[in-house]
């Protein structure tokens, strides 16, 4: 059951005075899809969301819901539900009236309001606390109430601005799964803003990575992980982040200071070699390196090593972690390397 509409952004730009918050953004969200906008703080995610909701008017460009151009429309004529980072619940109203608010504005008959608010609240597991005011419930319950308020009017498009970032780590994980489940069940098209790459990868069908107001890459999670389009995406997606070494490709290898690697079919010219910490091997084979720091993470450990003047992070199973200062050998996986040119654009391997 898909009742959401597709969303299309066409060369969307927003300036605040001299600051360009969003620049020439074009992307499409399919009906019923969940897309994450991912990027560091201040990169224009919220601004984009507010333009889709109709709170901000774009400086240039258009927003389409299906075939309908909505950018001249007031938010109330767009049929969107939105969850704000601060939840933005009305403090003077109890949860019931908060959730009922959009329906009351539409003059839905009282008995229907009661039924729909109850249903939505039950769906989110807050049916028992509807008499309380926002200040009298926990952060997790506020977040659910905000989600219920966004969903109760059965919107075409659901916009979520960092809905999980104010929750405890424990609740955050279950809330992730819950939002995903609800979104699938209801078939609503959803856009989730987050600065947490793990959250984006775990929840979204596709992820749009932003940096400084510009779209860097728009792809499904595994493509972001396996084929990052540039060094920004490579460094932002994945935890711990990809190791990036600046040096020179020589056609049959890569050179960076004292580091020399033989790489068949390597490009030529200056650039960056990328390798994920989880793909580097620590063992009897490889280039000699010295352990600087070991950070245990529980099941795994991050080992920071120095290799010919470069610092690299290596992810190893907990029981294989070396001692600090130990001399180790690092094996580069020929199948899991990434080549970027001097401007940071991906140039291989194919």
């Amino acid at each position: 059951m898909t009742k959401g509409t597709g969303v299309r952004l066409e060369r969307l730009t927003k300036r605040f005075g001299r600051v360009v918050a969003v620049r020439e953004l074009s992307l499409e969200v399919a009906p019923g899809e969940l897309v994450a906008f991912l990027g560091p703080s201040g990169c224009g995610k919220t601004t984009t969301l507010l333009m889709i909701a109709g709170i901000y008017r774009p400086t240039a460009g258009h927003v389409y819901f299906g075939d309908r151009r909505v950018d001249p429309l007031h938010p109330r004529d767009r049929d969107v539900g939105m969850v704000f980072q601060s939840y933005a619940l009305y403090p003077h109203l109890n949860l019931f009236e908060n959730i009922a608010f959009p329906l009351r504005l539409k003059r839905v008959p009282a008995d229907q309001v009661r039924r729909r608010v109850r249903e939505t609240a039950e769906l989110l597991g807050i049916g028992g606390i509807l008499e309380r005011r926002p200040a009298q419930v926990s952060g997790g319950q506020q977040q659910r109430a905000a989600l219920a308020r966004a969903l109760v009017k059965e919107p075409q498009v659901l916009l979520l601005d960092e809905p999980l970032s104010n929750l405890d780590a424990q609740i955050r994980l279950s809330a992730r799964a819950e939002i995903r489940r609800l979104q699938r069940e209801l078939g609503v098209t959803a856009i989730l803003v987050t600065h947490d790459q793990a959250e984006a990868l775990a929840m979204a069908d596709r992820v749009a990575v932003f940096s400084m107001g510009e779209l860097q890459q728009y792809a499904p999670p595994d493509e972001l992980y396996h084929r990052p389009k540039n060094t920004f995406v490579a460094g932002f997606v994945g935890s711990p982040p990809m190791n990036l070494i600046e040096g020179e490709f020589t056609g049959d290898g890569f050179r960076a200071g004292g580091l020399r690697l033989a790489l068949p079919k390597a490009p030529t010219g200056r650039g960056w070699l990328g390798v994920r910490p989880e793909h580097l091997g620590l063992g009897p084979e490889g280039l000699p390196a010295r352990v600087l720091v070991v950070e245990p993470l529980g099941r795994e450990a991050i080992v920071i090593v120095e290799l010919s003047g470069h610092r690299l992070q290596v992810l190893v199973p907990e029981d294989e972690k070396p001692a600090p200062d130990a001399e180790v050998r690092i094996a580069f996986p020929t199948g899991a390397l990434h080549y970027f040119d001097a401007k940071g654009r991906r140039i291989g391997p194919e």
Binding site: G54, P91, L105
Partner: protein
Amino acid sequence: MRRYLTPLLFLSPASALILLFFFTPVVATLLLSFTDLSTTTFRHPSWVGLANYQDLLTDPFLKKILANTAKYVGLTLAFNVGMGLLLALLTSLVPENWGDPFRALWLLPRILPPVVYVFIWQGLLAEAPMGLVSDLLGVSKNWLVEAPWTAVILANGFVGASFGMLIFTSAIRAIPRELFYAAAVDGATTGQTIRRVVIPMLAWPILFVTAYQTLSLLTSFEYILLLTDGGPGFYGTEVWSLHAYHLALSNYFGNVEFGLGAAMAAVLVVIGVIVSLFYLKIFNFRALVTEPKIEV
């Protein structure tokens, strides 16, 4: 015992001030109101019990003055709170570089010396060719005599509205921006956002401004004194506090009746307390009170 000691300690500076500057005068006023102290009896006042209060009750103008007071306080209050709210809302909805100068304009009457301010009103309301109002209406009259209440209420209101405006503006600014966004996404028009979100969130400042202004209007009479001196005619705009002033400090017969004036003031205090309790009740004061942010 220790449980109460710290809160008491924290409250003691304010309590001392209230005792000294509020409670003592109230007691002194009450005591005075049971005497016949006046210019003629100044050195040897005597206790007269409730005689002053009896005088008040039998005053043939009592009804008129009470009605005038209710009219003055009620209408000016409505103007002050309503206009203050309207100004705060309007100037908050436009960009700041428009709203700020406009608000500053409304502060002008407040920073003018009352005597100068009242002179301006008297000038405006005078007969042609002096009076601007006569000029504009094309009817030359002394509007201060024609419409004394309008003049009294507007002259007070133009000063009073800026108080509410300032309080409400800062309260509106304290409402998180996202709440306005949420209301828009939920489908509210600007009007609905104001009615259903902004005004309910201003309950506490509205209570404060209403209560504060009621009390100050009950006791303030300087603009009426300067503008009409309680006229025109016999007690046309004479209100309770002005009457107390006339009796106690500016008696026509040269005999200043402190005792009677004190009795009138005491009545005013009682009215003030009753009105305050009434406000606290209708605004459901308990629901507005929050827990202390730090415990002592």
